[in-house]
């Protein structure tokens, strides 16, 4: 059994070395650089998987606790239709809708709060109040109000994503420097013009932070909300059911799908960020 562990260790060390070497070198050719840039996280990931596989075999961990990656892969490939249906239900319906609405709402309230000092003093404390409405308590209520289907999950996701967006937008809207604002004042620019032409652009780095955080939070929210009542489809439903059925490989297959979907989602947001905030030092410095 120790052969596994030794192999894991050796593999890990050599992969690490390889990665260090790769990132230290600068490649002239653009395509080579691109390949290297994707290879590095990939190598890291593969290393994790190999270590995982070896540990499971090496320590004889029961699959009900932690299945080996190979087992999860087998399950993944053999349950594509179920996984796809769950993905549609949870990701395409609950997560995306909830994310859009939650971020939209947080943004809108932040703008509203910014518009009116009165509301700022009245609404912001209330905003803090709903900052941590626990999904454990909220999800059953939402099921009661909005039914079992994805609509109630959307509601949970909205509640979860609202606050990060609110806080970040409020902070971001104050990111423009004094001189930049003074310039707008000299034009007697209206509040809207100042917002659109100065304060929003300056706020984007913060807003994108919220969009990034929310991209994963929304997924967690939607999945966990399904623990509290759902039609019999969905990633959260599958996970909770299959845990109870001791089909832990299926649970991890869902998790793998969630991780993949979440990472792609995050990646897209990060890409949009680079595109929108190209001027920010954090992006201009070469990395976002």
């Amino acid at each position: 059994m120790n052969g596994y562990l030794v192999f894991a260790l050796v593999f890990w060390l050599s992969a690490w070395g390889l990665n260090e070497w790769l990132v230290r070198r600068t490649f002239k050719d653009r395509t080579v650089r691109r390949v290297v840039n994707t290879a590095v996280p990939l190598i890291f990931g593969i290393t994790l998987l190999v270590i995982w596989e070896c540990l499971v075999h090496g320590f004889d961990i029961p699959s009900i606790l932690l299945p080996a990656p190979s087992m999860i892969w087998a399950r993944l490939t053999s349950s594509v239709p179920t996984l796809w249906a769950d993905f549609q239900q949870t990701f395409l319906k609950s997560v995306l809708t909830g994310y859009a609405l939650g971020c939209g709402l947080g943004f809108a309230v932040a703008i509203l709060v910014d518009r009116s000092p009165f509301l700022q003093k009245g609404l912001l404390p209330i905003g803090n109040f709903v900052s941590a409405l626990p999904m454990v308590g909220v999800a059953p209520i939402m099921v009661m109000w909005f039914g079992f289907d994805w609509q109630s999950k959307v509601a949970v996701v909205v509640i979860m994503t609202f606050f990060p967006m609110l806080v970040n937008t409020v902070q971001g809207l104050s990111a423009a420097s004094h001189m930049e604002r003074d310039l707008m004042r000299t034009y007697a620019a209206s509040w809207w013009q100042t917002l659109v032409k100065l304060r929003l652009p300056a706020a984007w780095p913060f807003i994108f932070n919220a969009l990034k955080i929310n991209s994963t939070l929304a997924l967690i929210g939607a999945i966990v909300a399904e623990f509290f009542g759902t039609p019999i489809v969905g990633m959260g439903f599958r996970i909770s059911t299959e845990v109870g059925r001791s089909n832990v490989d299926m649970v991890w297959a869902e998790i793998a799908v969630a991780a993949l979907a979440g990472s792609i989602f995050y990646g897209l947001v990060a890409l949009a960020e680079r595109w929108v905030t190209f001027w920010h030092p954090s992006v201009r410095g070469g990395q976002a």
């Binding site: 620019a189 013009q193 032409k197």
Partner: protein
């Protein structure tokens, strides 16, 4: 037009900044009258309150006491009227906009049509000698180029009153001469009123109809010199005795106000 009408009129103007370690008297008892069509230069040692005074005119800073009117109104109303264009001491370009877009910014805000915007952007870019750099971003420009872009931005919308805070500080003599005479031409043609902060005595004398010499802490006006030079000013005027006399008076005023002796 009848008797020249007062564009900026300050009486007994004071401004004190409250800072962590006590108050800073940036302006004290400033009296000044700027008439329509005047070209007023402000000159004075670093930190004497020139920027602060311009900011009060522009309603970016509130005076502590005294009165000031701009175009006969409060600075606030004048600002809301979009009575002036302001060139800040630092360029203050928006990093997410190209130079072109930066210059178009006030035009967008004031609702100029797309073609008009394009035309004016091109004209002013040309004026400040930045043609070809319109598509660059601010951080891709040298310091002087950024400063010129910010001048272009203030000129683009053709305000009647220009507030310019050391607009040519980062420019070499040749460009500076060029822009000086362009500015004079513009002023002559359009009958603008210009308040101009500079550290160059020749520049002040060459450009102005009135030179305000300030002294530091608390910022006071120590001398106001009405220029006797004609409105038409070729570059050679800088060699005339009249010119040199005025320059001398300015230099003396400056020296008097200075805290340390050489």
């Amino acid at each position: 037009m009848t008797a020249p009408f007062s564009v900026v009129s300050a009486k007994d103007l004071c401004l004190t900044f409250q800072t962590g370690d006590g108050p800073v008297h940036a302006l004290s008892n400033v009296d000044l009258e700027v008439k329509k069509g005047d070209f007023v230069s402000f000159i004075g040692p670093s930190g004497c309150g020139k920027t602060t005074f311009l900011r009060v005119i522009a309603d970016l800073e509130k005076h502590t006491s005294g009165t000031i009117t701009v175009n006969g109104m409060t600075p606030e109303n004048a600002r809301k009227d979009r009575s002036y264009g302001y060139v800040f001491q630092a360029a203050a370009l928006y990093p997410w906009r190209t130079i072109e877009k930066n210059i178009a910014l006030p035009l967008e805000i004031m609702g100029f049509s797309k073609e008009e915007q394009k035309k004016r952007v091109e004209q002013t870019l040309e004026l400040v000698n930045l043609t070809g750099f319109g598509k660059k971003f601010p951080w891709q420009l040298s310091g002087g180029m950024q400063q010129r872009a910010s001048i272009a931005r203030a000129l683009a919308f053709d305000a009647d009153l220009l507030l310019m805070d050391e607009p040519f500080g980062a420019l070499d003599e040749i460009v500076r001469d060029h822009l000086n005479s362009e500015l004079l031409k513009l002023w002559d043609r359009t009958d603008k009123t210009i308040c101009f902060v500079t550290h160059s005595i020749p520049e002040a004398v060459y450009l102005s109809t009135k030179i305000v010499v300030m002294s530091p802490r608390p910022g006071r006006v120590t001398d106001i010199i009405e220029s006797t030079l004609p409105r038409e000013r070729p570059l050679e005027i800088r060699e005339t005795p009249e010119f040199l006399a005025i320059a001398h008076r300015v230099r003396e005023g400056l020296k008097a106000g200075h805290s340390y002796e050489e």
